[in-house]
Amino acid sequence: MKKIIELKNITKSFDGEVVLDNISLDIYDNEFITLLGPSGCGKTTTLRIIGGFETPDSGDVIFMGEDIKDVPPYKRNVNTVFQRYALFPHLNVFENVAFSLREKKVPKDEIKRKVTEMLTLVALKGFEKRSVTSLSGGQQQRVAIARALVNQPKVLLLDEPLAALDLKLRKDMQVELKNIQKATGITFVFVTHDQEEALSMSDTVVVMSEGRIQQIGTPVDIYNEPTNAFVADFIGESNILDGVMLEDRKVSFAGQVFECVDEGFDRREPVDVVVRPEDVDIVPADRGMLKGVVTSVTFLGVHYEIIVDIDGFKWMIQTTDFWDVDETIGLVIEPDAIHVMKKSEYSGMFGDYSTFSDEMEEIGEVEIEELAEIEERGGNRTESGKTDE
């Protein structure tokens, strides 16, 4: 695959506050890449640097092998779909889409042909004469996409293009956008803070937090192999527990020793352990590796989401079977359901039910003998990701 954009060690601050901290990112041809992260983590700023609306304090922006740091936006072969569209209110739908072609003095009949082609692509044929202010949010969105695509840019930048749409329309547009991307073969750099959207649409997901890239990978990698507690927390629902790696493929958490598939940690290395709520099997209490009491049950249509209290710590578990509050159940966790991560600055930051994280933060100083005690007591917390943002 061909690299189309390379960001190299980009740093940017506003008013002395670092917004992007040494960002490096390769974007490949024909790729649907998504920048995902909580509000204020620097997604828009990254996009604006690619678009040419901001200049990085340091670092390079390479576009098809050329440094374009000092190239103004109007000379870049990159177009943007702005958040809230930024359509020209004084122009009708046709003229909005034709805007860049008129600037390039494209012949009239070719403009007509191209605009019509684009409006067909976004299913807005017949809307040519309409004023853009009279369109619905979804229609305006599609005009914005057509306007940005008509120029056949190498790269299309989309800043939370679906954020203002209602859920149903958003789902439809997700599919439509993905189809457009496949049909045109244009590289899409997509910004969102909706993790579901990111996972379902992207070839590559870039998880950002506080101006730094936390992880780059395919949606499956990001979900199954989060690199740290932040990513595990941000993507999907996670039970994140403090644990200790006893040896390769053997980890201890929640007061028990579990088989796992992870290797390459130091002996007795403190780690974060992720167990996804859907990966836990529920069995009768006497047959479980762990035993706990159901404290709440929520019916979510496809499955139940239950909170289970294990030695005073609460796990979230998803199950299709009904378990009533106050029932005692057993849990079985298969080796491949356990994901072990290195400790990071985010360790212990997530989960409302953590009491052990404070102790675990000082694990470095804890003697080996004491570790055994901690293992015995176990440490866990339940974490629900921010799905609805």
Partner: protein
């Protein structure tokens, strides 16, 4: 019930405004129209109106002696000076408004205050100030002489009248354009740039069409008062440029209230028609552009 009270409250709060509007806007207009179409015994007549279009006088400019339509000539002269002043205000005001709207907030406030300060001064005083500046032995020429440049003769020329008008009405051009520009969404400008427009193109294709409403109200607010201005021409033009405002004033002072009202009425109708046409033109332009 809630709705009812709120609409009642609304009506109550609007009442003072309505009373004010009727008292100070509608009533005077009715009086102007009434006087324009009546004679001194308040009987209906269109004589006053006809007089405006038909009255003639003899002009002797030393070489030829001509008979001209007195008031039409005066009107055209007023229109010419007003249009020139308006154009100058626009040419100076538009870039200033643009720069202001893009400046840091603090600079914006300072510039706004600077533009408005002259408006706090009495208009007569401002005009007198310009007299002392532009006189043959005034400040301007003193300055030029000090720099060993040739003094200029400005007072009593059309230029002096235009300078006075531009100075007086400039804020009325800048402020409406500025307020439209300040509200302009920067992302539209970024979008234009993103779609391949260099700076001048962004100005021509996005900023200008979107600022037309501001330009229109600026033009209206300068053109209307400058076409009907008096006094400036008397003081800075040494009375050589008799304008329609001076004509109204003259008739009024001479106690020809009915004819003064007729001139005012005709002027008003002409201005209204002009404004309506301009608005229409702009509307069409806004959609096509």
């Amino acid at each position: 019930m809630n709705k009812k009270t709120s609409s009642l409250v609304q009506r109550l709060t609007l009442t003072p405004y309505s009373v004010w509007a009727v008292l100070f806007i509608v009533v005077p207009l009715v009086f102007v129209a009434y006087y324009a179409f009546t004679d001194s015994s308040f009987a209906f007549t269109t004589d006053n109106i006809t007089r405006f279009f038909t009255a003639t006088s003899v002009v002797d400019d030393g070489e030829t002696v001509r008979e001209v339509h007195t008031y039409l000539v005066i009107f055209m002269r007023s229109l010419k000076l007003a249009v020139i002043s308006t154009v100058i205000c626009l040419l100076m005001g538009y870039p200033l408004a643009y720069i202001m709207a893009r400046a840091p907030e603090k600079t914006q406030k300072i510039l706004l205050t600077l533009i408005m300060i002259p408006m706090w001064m009495n208009f007569l005083i401002r005009t007198y100030a310009w007299m002392t500046i532009l006189q043959d032995k005034g400040i301007l020429n003193g300055f030029l002489t000090a720099l060993h440049l040739r003094p200029v003769h400005v007072i009593g020329t059309e230029s002096a009248v235009i300078i006075g008008m531009v100075y007086d009405y400039f804020p009325y051009m800048v402020l409406p354009i500025y307020s439209v520009m300040a509200k302009l969404d920067v992302r539209l400008l970024e979008a234009a740039s993103d779609l391949g427009c260099p700076g001048p193109s962004v100005l021509r294709r996005v900023i200008w069409p979107l600022s037309i409403p501001g330009v229109l109200s600026g033009v209206t607010m300068v053109l209307v008062p400058s076409i009907s201005t008096f006094y400036i021409s008397q003081k800075l033009g040494n009375g050589k440029f008799f304008l329609i405002g001076d004509a109204i004033e003259g008739q009024y002072v001479a106690n020809n209230l009915h004819f003064a009202a007729a001139i005012a009425f005709i002027l008003m109708v002409i201005l209204l028609v002009c404004m309506a046409l301009m608005q229409k033109l702009a509307n069409r332009k806004l959609i096509v552009a």
